[in-house]
């Protein structure tokens, strides 16, 4: 079983988000970068697949050399090898085109990407990879079991869940549920040591365009001060919600 896990390199969830003074870019100053949390669930699930069915787990990122520590962390967690496609990930289509090109050469059985990345929240890449490869796409996947060449999956739908099956190869948009939070693998010392010598291939980007253009960033409008209501007087909150906020 050959599994490819797509890894986004994103600001830690506790990061304060700032933009450069001309609002043209995200200000990386002082920001810690991590494996995108949605991708972490997929990575641990990929390790389980490998341990049960044999095979390899490859991780891929489209980015500059500064993302390599994040790929090394994925190797420390247990991936066998890493590929960094050397390019500025300018939009979802560009990134998906790069990963689809890698996949066409390597014929992975399963490609797992996070449902979205917590930086741009585009949610575009896994579905685009699937469509470029013409493979089944299961988004918001919260369960994955393999039986031979067939995958049994559960995906979240609005107001419930759905059980599906498809023949491999498939593309998964993953999230919590692929494994539980408590099951997430974290690097141990042996993993960190061995990650240093695992292969990390740098691959030139294929020629591809972007289909969207990023303009100015802005921060959300500041909230006005909170109005406190006495705990003994919840009636006042009801009046405020009705008369002032007009939400009930």
């Amino acid at each position: 079983m050959k599994v490819l896990v797509c890894i986004s390199h994103v600001p830690d969830t506790t990061s304060k988000i700032n933009f450069t003074s001309d609002n043209s870019e995200f200000d990386k100053n002082g920001v810690q970068f991590v494996i995108n949390p949605y991708d972490e669930f997929g990575l641990t699930r990929a390790m389980w697949i490998k341990e049960k069915n044999g095979g390899t787990v490859t991780v891929v990122n489209v980015g500059s050399a500064e993302t390599e520590p994040t790929l090394r962390k994925a190797l420390a967690i247990g991936a066998d090898d890493a590929v960094r496609i050397d390019a500025n990930p300018s939009d979802g289509f560009f990134v998906a085109s790069q990963i689809a090109a890698l996949a066409k050469e390597n014929n992975y059985d399963i490609i797992i990407a996070g449902r979205e990345s917590i930086d741009y929240n585009g949610g575009q890449v896994p579905g685009m990879i699937a469509a470029l490869l013409n493979q089944p796409f299961i988004n918001g996947c919260i369960g994955l079991e393999l039986e031979g060449n067939n995958a049994q999956m559960i995906r979240e739908i609005d107001g419930g869940k759905e059980k599906l099956s498809a023949d491999l190869p498939i593309v998964i948009g993953g999230q919590k549920g692929l494994v539980e939070e408590k099951d997430l693998r974290i690097p141990n010392m042996r993993g960190i040591m061995s990650a240093r010598t695992k292969p990390l291939q740098v691959r030139p980007a294929i020629d591809s365009s972007s289909r969207t253009k990023v303009g100015d960033f802005e921060k959300p409008a500041p909230k006005s001060a909170v109005k406190m209501v006495d705990a003994e007087n919840v009636q006042e909150l009801v009046s405020l919600l009705h008369n002032e906020a007009k939400v009930i």
Partner: protein
């Protein structure tokens, strides 16, 4: 040139999301000086009602291909209808199904895709849209100059107002591309629960509730408010509540009209997923809880005393209004 909109249905019924999408398309079409056409798949309720939201026509596609949701078949049908109507803009509501269709449709149509959109276009030449990034900690303006564009907006972000009128409904005809097969074996919808992404009001609780056995009062408050129920990440990680209820940066991002946070401290990761809510109420016994800085209204007090009183007060209010 025209604007096309996917009118998603749930077991044949339309929801606020579908009307919001229709109106989004109609307003975008007006900016472009063209018409907005709806596409509906499968057997549904009356489609002429979409005239009240500004659509000039709805194309209905029936038949066995659309009995159950299939992301590829939906995308393929949208592509075919877009080509038949020389549509250069496609609007999709960012529901879980919508988010599963949009990227596939963008590849099939060679379209520029802009997702997570929070407002109507600020310009239509080139098409420019504001979208949420960094889990609502920021926004950015995106544009696309591709011949075809797909806009996927966050449900409940732009809202909808009902007008009057009806529109023409025609039976469409498409030839679908051969697409990958996924089989749905079982659909399990939670009955009597309002799905979070579409809930206009949400009651959410955290570790302050002390244990899963105390959620009865949260559900009661949600019931009188006609609200969905949600929870913080620790609560879902401990298995007190299903992770479909986890809102926040790594769970579901929501933007209801009213968000009531009970016994949730307001960690930055939680706030990221809920800060787009129009009105936020925080109830916490810790006066220093960060949530009070992000809330519109706050009550410092014991949830076990405040929540039942609030439920009662709302029940009385509803009985007399």
């Amino acid at each position: 040139m025209s604007v096309l909109v996917y009118l998603e249905n749930w077991e044949g019924k339309f929801k606020k999301n579908s009307f919001e999408a229709a109106q989004y398309a109609a307003k975008t079409a007006e900016m472009m000086g063209t018409e907005a056409i709806g596409v509906s798949l499968g057997e549904t309720d009356d489609l002429a009602v979409f005239g009240a939201y500004g659509l000039s026509k709805v194309i209905s596609l029936g038949g066995a291909d659309f009995g159950q949701f299939d992301n590829y078949k939906t995308a393929s049908a949208l592509k075919s209808i877009a080509e038949q109507n020389s549509a250069d803009t496609l609007i999709i509501s960012g529901t879980l199904n919508g988010k599963s269709v949009a990227p596939i449709a963008s590849i099939m149509l060679n379209a520029g895709l802009i997702t997570n959109v929070t407002e109507l276009p600020s310009s239509v030449s080139p098409l420019t849209l504001k979208r949420s990034v960094f889990s609502s900690k920021g926004f950015v303006n995106y544009s696309s100059e591709e011949a075809t564009k797909i806009v996927c907006f966050i449900p409940n972000s732009v809202g909808v107002t009902e007008g009057s009128g009806s529109c023409e409904v025609v039976q469409g005809n498409v030839s679908l591309d051969a697409t990958p097969t996924t089989t749905i074996n079982e659909v399990d919808r939670i009955k009597g629960k309002i799905p979070l992404p579409e809930a206009e009001r949400v009651v959410s609780a955290g570790r302050g509730l002390k244990g899963p056995e105390n959620w009865g009062m949260i559900e009661e408050l949600a019931e009188v408010l006609d609200a969905g129920t949600a929870c913080s990440k620790p609560v879902s990680d401990m298995g007190w509540r299903p992770h479909t209820e986890h809102v926040g940066q790594t769970g579901i991002a929501i933007n209801p009209d009213l968000y009531i946070a009970i016994g949730i401290s307001g960690a930055i990761q939680h706030l990221a997923g809920v800060s787009s809510s129009k009105v936020i109420v925080a109830i916490n016994n810790d006066a220093e809880a960060p949530f009070f800085k992000a809330a519109d209204y706050g009550i410092i007090g014991d949830a076990f005393e405040v929540v039942p009183k609030l439920t009662e007060a709302i029940r009385n209010f509803k009985a007399t209004n």
